[in-house]
Each structure stands twice: as C-alpha cells, then as structure tokens.
Symmetry: C2
Amino acid sequence: MEKVTMADVAREAGVSKSTVSQYLNKRYEYMSEKTKQKIEMAIDTLGYQPNFLARSLKQKRTSLIGIIVANITHYFSTEVSRAIEDFFHQYDLQTIVCNADDDPDKEKKYIEMLRAKQVDGLIIFPTGKNNELYESMINQGYPVVFVDRKVENLDVFSVITDNTESTCKAIQHFIENGHENIAFAVQPLTVSTRIERLEGYKKALNDAGLEVNPNYIIEASIPEMKKKLEELFSLDVKPTALFAANDRVFIALGEFLKEKGMKFGKDLDVVVFDNIPFSQMLETTLSFIIQPAAKMGTKAAELLYQQIRKEDHDPEVFVFPSDIK
Amino acid sequence: MEKVTMADVAREAGVSKSTVSQYLNKRYEYMSEKTKQKIEMAIDTLGYQPNFLARSLKQKRTSLIGIIVANITHYFSTEVSRAIEDFFHQYDLQTIVCNADDDPDKEKKYIEMLRAKQVDGLIIFPTGKNNELYESMINQGYPVVFVDRKVENLDVFSVITDNTESTCKAIQHFIENGHENIAFAVQPLTVSTRIERLEGYKKALNDAGLEVNPNYIIEASIPEMKKKLEELFSLDVKPTALFAANDRVFIALGEFLKEKGMKFGKDLDVVVFDNIPFSQMLETTLSFIIQPAAKMGTKAAELLYQQIRKEDHDPEVFVFPSDIK
DNA sequence: TTGTAAGCGTTATCAA
DNA sequence: TTGATAACGCTTACAA
C-alpha cells in the first residue's frame, strides 16, 4: 500500500517526473493533450496518490490550520471551531482540531507537534500555563491567535468576551429585581475568564453600594462544589440568587438543587455564564450569558489569516459583548 | 523564522548532522557527554525546532491519527473523540479532528488530505456518500474504522449502537404505559442510524399487534419539521407519545411545543435518541436513549490500533447497547 | 564514538 | 513543450 510514487507514474506514462508534477499542479499551459492523457491513465492504472508530506517539505507550507481547544466537549469551543473552519474553507485551507483537555502538558505537546508538522498557523484556547512556549512562538513571528482566555504580559492577538462587563450587568439585573444576597460560584481562579467574571460580580455590588460578602463567593473545583454549596445554604442569611460562572458549575448546582428539592426560579434565581446547547429547552426561569461564538471564531480566523499573509498589524485584543438571555 | 535546520545546529556544535540526529532521537549509547552538551547548547542558542515533515517523509509514519466527524458540534461526536484521544495518548500517538459537516465533498477532501499527509489511520463518522473512496482505502489496506453509521456492502471495522433494538424497547415502554398512538419524527432517511431507528419503531408496533399508521411517521428536514408537526397534531386522532430520532428533531419539537403551549410529559410523552449534554437538567418527564460514547470511542481506537500494528483480524461490526434514561 | 553519503517524494530552475 | 538535476530537512547504513 501507498508505495506508488511520482517516479512510477512517470515511468508508466513514459515522461519525466517534472512533467507529472506539472500535471498534478494543473500547470497545463505548455502541455500537449497527449501527455496529459498518458499521465492521467498512468495515475489511474497505478492508483497513484500524491504525498503531501513531500510537497510541503519542499514548499514550506501545509495549507493546514491548527486549533487547540481547552476542552473539545465544551459546546462553545466547538461552535468557535466550526466558524473558524468555515472561514478557512473559502481559502482552501483545512483545519484540524486538537484537544488539550485543559492539561498544560498536552497543550505543549500539541503546540510543538503542530508546529513541527509545519502547520501554517495556530488558534489556541490557552491553558495559560505555557508562557515560555507562547512567547517563543510569538517572538519567532509564528502566526497565532488566542481565543477565550487572555494571557497576561503577552503581546498577542486575542479574541475574548467582555466577561467583567456582562457579569456585572447580570448581577445588576439581580439587584434591580430586589435581590440583595447574591452568591457567586466559580472553579479555581486559574484562568482569566473566571477572574474577570468575579471582578464583574464585585463591581456590580460595589456600584450598587452593597457589601461583598466573602461567604457568598464559592471558589471550588467541581468535585468539591456540592460541599461548598451545602455550606452556602447553611448560612443564616441564605442567598436568593446565584451566578454560576460556567456550565460545569451549573451542572453541579443543578444536582445540588435536585437533591435538596429546590427549584430554579422559585427557590433560587440563577444566571449561567456559558453557551449551553438546548438551553432553549431548559426551564425558562433560568438566564444565560451567551457569547457570540461564531463571530468570535470568524474574527480569530481573520486575524490568523492576516498573519499568515504577512500583513503587518500590531497585536490587539478584540473584546466581544455577550448577550443575556 | 523557522529557518534553523539540523545543519545549522551541527555547524554551531561542531559536529555532523547525523550526530545531531542521534541526539534528537535519544540514541545516546555511544555519545560522549561532551558532544551531548555541545549539541544541547547549540539547539538552545539557535532555538532549533525539528521539522517532523522531513522526518515523517523518511520514516513513512507520522504518529498521527485522524478523526473525521460528521458534525463537530454534536455532543456524541465530541465524547467519542475524547475517548479515542485518551486511548492513543498512552501510545504517544496524537489525534486530530476534522469536521466534515455532513457534507460528502468536505468529507472527501478531509480523507484525501489526511491520507496525503500520511496520517497513520482514520476513524470516520461516515456521511455514507463516498463509497468509492471508502472502498479504495479499504482495498489498499489503509487502517480505518467507521463509527456511528454503517455503510452497506463494505467490509470494514465498524462500531455502532443497537439503533433498532433500543428504539424498539423505548416504543415498547410507551405501549406498556398505555400509549396506542405513537408518532415517530426523523430527518430524511439518508443514513443507517435513522433507518434503523425507524425499523425499531415499526417492529415494536408490529410485535404488539398495533397498526403502523403512516400519518404518524414524519420524515422531514429540520426546517420543515415544524410544519410537519403542525400537520401531525391536526389529525383527528392525535398522538399521545412521540419518538424524536435525534437531538435536532428534539429541538424542533421543543420549539413547536412551546409555541403551542404544550408541555412534555403532560401533553405529550417523549423519548429522544441522543446523548444530550445537560439532559439531567431538563424536565424529568423526558426520556433519553444514551449511547455509550466513551466505550464506543475506545473500541474504535483499539480496532484502529490493531490495524496500524498490522495485527490480522477480519473486519467486524461491533454493536453496543444503549441505555434508556 | 562520530562522520559520509544516499535516499524519502516532491517542486523549481534552467536547459534542451 | 518536456526533462535533468538540485534542493527541502531529516534518518540511517556503513565507514572511519
């Protein structure tokens, strides 16, 4: 299998390798109809399939774009990926997706692999834990765009949501509706998105002249989340509203409420920050902060394409507003 | 950028290319500590990054696995992909995911691209519309496994769910609960999964001695689905239960019911065939048929790995049971 | 213990 | 209009 090479085709067709190469690259200008047909036949009878590896080695580009997502089962990531793919499809660039699984080691491996495979550019949902590697890419002028999460002290094109702003708005909404005891649940503050959302929460409270009660802020990993919620709802003054900083927190919360026989909307007002598939099928008493995934993906793709084409722009951070629904 | 080659490193370190190559491949056996350090330093100061393209060209393998999913935003696909990735991670094979978007042309392009890039093997959620291409891969002994969908007349390793069986059981459940007017909604019958689910529906009715009423079977594309549902619920004898053949049908159904002010469980009993993220957060009156995505992914990966290692097995179809929840 | 040289399957340059 | 031939960056006998 896979041993038929251009040389075989050339021999079979009775022409030289270079002529076959011309044919394959559709440079027919000076090619006689007869040669064309001979080559066509030879390819057919031998079942020849070109080896792009060899071509790329020579041409120094692969026409491939790499996406490294933090978590491939996260709906937002797949929506963004699809938009990126749609964008590059029009330029005949193909897209491959790798899943870093929120693991900095895996992320590193994939970045190195994709670069070593000479992928033309990279769009990354960074874990934020490989700064040296990020820096070296950027310093070497390798085309790269970051999505979803900001990395501090790094001059790189980034596409993110207004995490602080939209969280702030959601909390203001709670306040307008008469809530005073508003809780905030988040996973460990290891990435910018979580930190910024917490900032938005605090800002809204401050702006409204409400006190930030540390007991109402839960920072816990998913397995610990339920225990912390237990504590939260054992307080003398229980919260009447809660902000779930992402979809996984939301799931933990849902399980907790179910166990306690509590209901969204009735016993607790809830806003979730994330694009949840099927959210339209969920109880209408819930609110969601929806990021414009498709637009963000397209923007990231554009930014990468500029770099690949060596258009000169200074790295910028593009912030997209999100919708509360 | 990216112009530092092994030759540069060799020059900088004052050794030959082959020695550098030895070093990179960790064949230290006969290497003096001094040479090792010299090379290490040279790599560091030059910022050398190996070009895997060149290596793969020589070695004729890439240590890369390709997954071609029909729809990357489909939760089931991402779950399967993750399991595949986890499996190969232990063997230091990396995984890339491409999204065919249920488009046979895109699927073809990706298959050809990945093969041309010398990917070591392919796991495909087939559109079912590229039979010639599938055949040529298989005949050439290229490692490939199909997931989720069966393709007729093709002797290939496949990993699928017992679509007929589990649909049948779900319908039996309806019948046991006293339902007699059970509807079935599905997208156009272009892939095996949909066809088999319909078969299961018919089988259950037949087994129970109930008549299959063609008016209760809706086969429509998603945009047309609501209109067809409208017709269904204008019948004199309206269905009291409905089987949604996948998640997208489910969404259309949800929108329809909302518009009509109808409620799941109260006005209509519903079973959905698909892994829906957050299904535990949805109304408890709904049932879901859940495919064992992780197990299926692992199995597919094992089957591919066997082929890559040239272990001799005859193609088989592995059918997994699914759960009703 | 290290170096030389051929080769992997293409493309590109230039000559014929 | 087509063909030699030299790259591309690496691996691998084999020689030294």
